[in-house]
Symmetry: C4
Subunit: 196 residues, 4 copies
């Protein structure tokens, strides 16, 4: 099985998820003032955050698959599992965007983030298991404290949402910014190997 | 005609179908409690099931086209026929998700599954007819009791929905799980041929 | 400029148009009986027809681009013009599906068909102009009485809709069936050239 | 990193944005007269304009990436930034289409155009910075007075919307027409180099 079609399908799902999220940003059809616009602000903020997250996933997914040559059945299901949680971003974003100060929507948003993070981690492990411990990806990722820490932070934010939802929102934003700095580990390891 | 564009178009339709289904999972815009969330549970269950089915179709479609070299006009129409029934998943999923205990929506869900299964079977037969009886796909699929059985089970579930909708739902889930175990027949036959 | 990206973009727009049309087939969220289902029948019929048309366009577009090597700026705009009219299918389908017996929605449906047919014809002419009169496509298409006739029929149906909308609907269906028989002209001409 | 996947993802997002915009053109489900249709006219006009803009962006993006060989991390984020603003087209189009004579929606439409223009300019600069001042793109673009002027015009239109929204709408249309004439600078420079 070629990885091209896996990449194309994943790109398709991500491109659609990132684009249909905007359908939840409903233009106020009966109002045309600044007030009507400012009512959209929390939804807009949630949209920006989720756009960033899907952009990050697309970017990292891209780097990770760069190291893959052969696609096994397990990897295929792990990838679908990741896409499942990412496909829920539009609905969790819409709900949290409507109620950014309410525990349940904010916790649900974090839960979807946490499960997507976990699914990404499992996909990564399944690729490493397939390639062997000395593979490029295994070396680049190392113990992957960054990936693990994020999943822990998401789950912590889910619990924190019942204390103060804005703490959770701050964590979601903070983790996103942590990843905007692109994951140079794979590029760096690749570079090292080419120099040897 | 190249198969690349057929694959790309099919992947596109499947990626979109799998993603827009989530638009029917409407975030409760006026509520923000666990109760509002639990009202979405049947829809969420239907979403998971249909996501699984489209994932399975994508996976199997992928394997099947792997054996194809030349795309004829008949195959193209059979493929479009399959995409037609798969494109109805979002609407049948939304209806059955709203009424998982009602005969008609559950029967309609099963009917769409059955027709998609039938369309897949016809596509497969048209490829085999094109490649000849001794082709790789013909050998891998054999008498395809699994594909035929599933279509029969779907139609049985359509009828059963008028007795007890939950029996039908159990069949839909059971058949899906039967397919999550990936269809190794093609891979196995391919492997055998390479070893000879 | 490579034709790959033109094909990919066109396939993307067609795959999305064909899939989001289904969003207009709204599952009746408050009813779960056969009656609720039968209320969807006209919309379903319109959906099937438009699905067929987009499938036909995808198929023919595919064959036509097969003969193209270099993509000029004019061709690019003609292609975008075609995609514009095809992108209106979901909205014209939804309106005609709600009112299959009313002159204006049925006429609008036909107008969109006619303009798409015209845009396809113009795209074809721009490719022939680019390739020269002795090109493969010019020979395969000939005077293209079929394409021209269809555009005339669509415009006739637009006018007829104000006499009897069902006459127009019959024309839309009839022309679609005329095209389901795939356009073998390009394949045949190609085959002849390879045999020489 | 290959540019193919960047192109594919961008094409996906643009194809979806251009297609889902049509979902905001809601078919009047309870009316079937010319009056119901004419009520859609402002929305239709906004749709045509935004379709044109996304077509222009797709076209120019295509030409620009033609000159790129290696994709760096910065370029990737600049590209995502551009896609972000383009993804807002459906919502800004829907709002301005509902209220083409109101200052705030018309200004918001222009603001999204301006930010997309700015993001495109930044992406272009990041490519030139990566390729060096003597690169093909740098030479083709020159001081890019056209790109800069448009961003200035968009921002001017944003302010003008509070004086007379129709002035702004005229600017949006005028700038679009300025770009429909395809940007031949890259093609011309390419041609010159091949002749040397």
């Amino acid at each position: 099985m070629h990885k091209n079609r896996l990449e194309a399908f994943s790109d398709g799902v991500l491109a659609i998820a990132i684009t249909i999220m905007v359908l939840e940003l409903k233009a106020p059809s009966h109002g045309s003032s600044f007030n009507d616009l400012s009512g959209l602000l929390p939804n807009f903020g949630a949209y920006v955050l989720s756009f960033l997250y899907i952009g990050i996933y697309w970017n990292n997914h891209h780097h990770m698959l760069h190291t893959v040559k052969h696609v096994g059945a397990g990897m295929l299901w792990h990838n679908l599992h990741l896409l499942f949680w990412l496909s829920l971003f539009p609905v969790s974003t819409a709900w949290a965007g409507h109620h950014p100060d309410q525990p349940v929507p904010v916790a649900v948003y974090g839960f979807v983030l946490a499960m997507a993070g976990l699914a990404y981690f499992l996909l990564q492990q399944s690729i490493i298991a397939h390639q062997g411990k000395n593979s490029l990806l295994a070396e680049a990722v190392g113990s992957d404290w960054k990936g693990k820490l994020c999943v822990v932070l998401y789950f912590a934010a889910v619990l924190l949402a019942f204390v103060e939802p804005w703490f959770s929102n701050a964590i979601y934003l903070g983790v996103a910014l942590l990843w905007v700095v692109p994951d140079r580990r794979i590029e760096r390891t690749l570079g090292r190997h080419q120099n040897e």
